[in-house]
Subunit: 313 residues, 2 copies
């Protein structure tokens, strides 16, 4: 598959494995789509399916899953710790290989149109697919969730009419927030101290919102069972604010606080490019290109030989 | 290709691009074999072709290339800076994916038998394919090269009879040294000093031969055109003595000498695993497995879906 898009639908169901299983099947019923993993949270009553698909198949796979979620999940019966506006709450499209962000914005818009036309679900566009600057951030779109939106959506003064569809939520499926964004890397650094104040201080120092690294979100947490604290981060554009820069920033701040870095951990998936970049950084590699990686060279050589055999130029 | 072997024949011809081109074609004439790159040195009058092939095709590809080299290269007419014993001088087999070192030793032995039976070229086995402990090192097999071997090979007292074939060199093709070894990573670290004595001292401190890191070879060089020096290394088993450990060892020694590390560089190809391991090391990644890499997870998921469709278990 040469044109790969990742899609990460978040559903308002986290307690029924059979529902999640059926949503996975709906995605994989589309040729060219594969599920990489799922995550369910019972407290949040929310689940996430991570799948990739060929650019020509990803919208169909998303629409099938959202359509099934509409049948299986009734938001009026949903309670859980996490703010949400829809049975399918969020639907981001992410470029992985051979597609641009602009391609993914178009896919998001196409998916949004289909959600309204075929399923009667109103749609808000966020992140890079946003049509209005006050809808870029998910939190600004979702605010207090379904119950509040249901009241405000028909009030023109509230300015919460959807980007696609009539200003009325679907009775049971609510609305869906659809967007395009870079690959998200979730990355934590654990510190050798029990003082959560230090973790929060470091998080404030390194995150973009408070003047730190631009594409970095960070919070400080306590890992009570281990007696240590954690700076928990989201790298929202790892090609710009890299994993290794986030690490070095936390390490420097920790040093200033007189605290050791114990370890770091990746949560979920990381693109190989991020690990290659980190290796090249720490090894001070002068000449690194992806072309020096054996496996890349093998793949390129196989493709060259195959293309040569088929007489392509 | 699930069972991949790398093969790196060294030929005693480095000045005629058309010869090297024809040898490349000979390799690629075998289904399942692709050339990753070539390198020719005019001073050494020597070239290296790096190719990979399916385990079931690699010996055939090697034998075809050695057979053509026998026709094209006359060692009696060969002069160059590099010691050699054959038109095809060295023929190592390297496990890359889905094959063990033991598999590659068997492939080396199979190739050696064919070189004698089909081409009349006597063969010495080296590295992991060696049949005698005094033939593990290439230098112990090759010694002063073709001209010296031609005199000594028939003298039982010299102990230089081949492992396969009669104790007589092929008239024009000499002998070939065939073996199996781990993937070799060539890696240099450049230091901010013009003093070659420091580079040599550091090379001695870090290399296995003199008590340093076991699977590391190192030499000190001057990069006169740049006014700096270089510790030039071969990692002969990067999974044991890793790239990042070699880097850290050189950096520590350089610090002791009061010298900065300018940069490092990879020469040729590096397996992705080596870069992942370096990233995991410097980032202190607690939970790194190849499974967290997005591209690995995609490949595994595609394979799972394909296998499921074909009804395999």
């Amino acid at each position: 598959m040469e044109r790969l898009v990742e899609c990460v639908p978040n559903f308002s169901e986290g307690r029924k494995p059979e529902t999640i299983g059926r949503l996975v099947e709906a995605v994989e019923s589309v040729k060219g789509a594969v599920v990489l993993g799922t995550h369910a949270d019972e407290d949040h009553n929310r689940s996430v399916i991570t799948f990739v698909a060929d650019a020509g198949a990803v919208v169909e796979a998303a629409v099938r899953a959202v359509g099934l979620a509409k049948q299986l999940i009734d938001l009026n019966r949903h309670e859980g710790q996490h703010p949400r506006v829809g049975a399918t709450d969020v639907l981001p499209f992410v470029p992985v290989r051979g597609v641009t962000m602009e391609d993914c914005v178009q896919l998001a818009h196409e998916a949004g149109e289909r959600l309204w036309r075929e399923l009667g679900i109103p749609v808000y566009f966020y992140e890079r697919a946003a049509l209005r600057p006050d809808r870029v951030n998910l939190e600004d779109v979702r605010r207090r969730g379904f119950e509040q939106l249901r009241e405000q959506i028909e009030d023109p003064a509230a300015g919460r009419e959807p980007d696609v569809g009539e200003a009325r939520l679907h009775e049971t499926a609510g609305a869906t927030v659809v967007g395009a964004r870079p690959f998200l890397v979730a990355y934590n650094v654990n510190l050798q101290t029990g003082d959560i104040g230090i973790a929060k201080k470091i998080a404030r120092a390194v995150r973009g919102r408070d003047g730190g690294l631009r594409y970095l979100k960070a919070l400080g947490f306590e890992l009570a069972s281990r007696g240590v604290v954690q700076v928990s981060m989201n790298l929202v554009d790892y090609e710009k604010t890299s994993v290794h820069h986030a690490f070095e920033a936390v390490r420097r701040e920790a040093e200033r606080e007189g605290v050791e870095v114990l370890a770091s951990e990746l949560v979920g998936l990381v693109p190989q490019a991020a690990l290659y970049a980190a290796a090249a950084h720490f090894l001070k590699l002068e000449n690194y290109t992806p072309d020096v990686v054996l496996e890349n060279r093998i793949a390129a050589a196989l493709e060259r030989k195959r293309a040569g055999r088929e007489g392509k130029i």
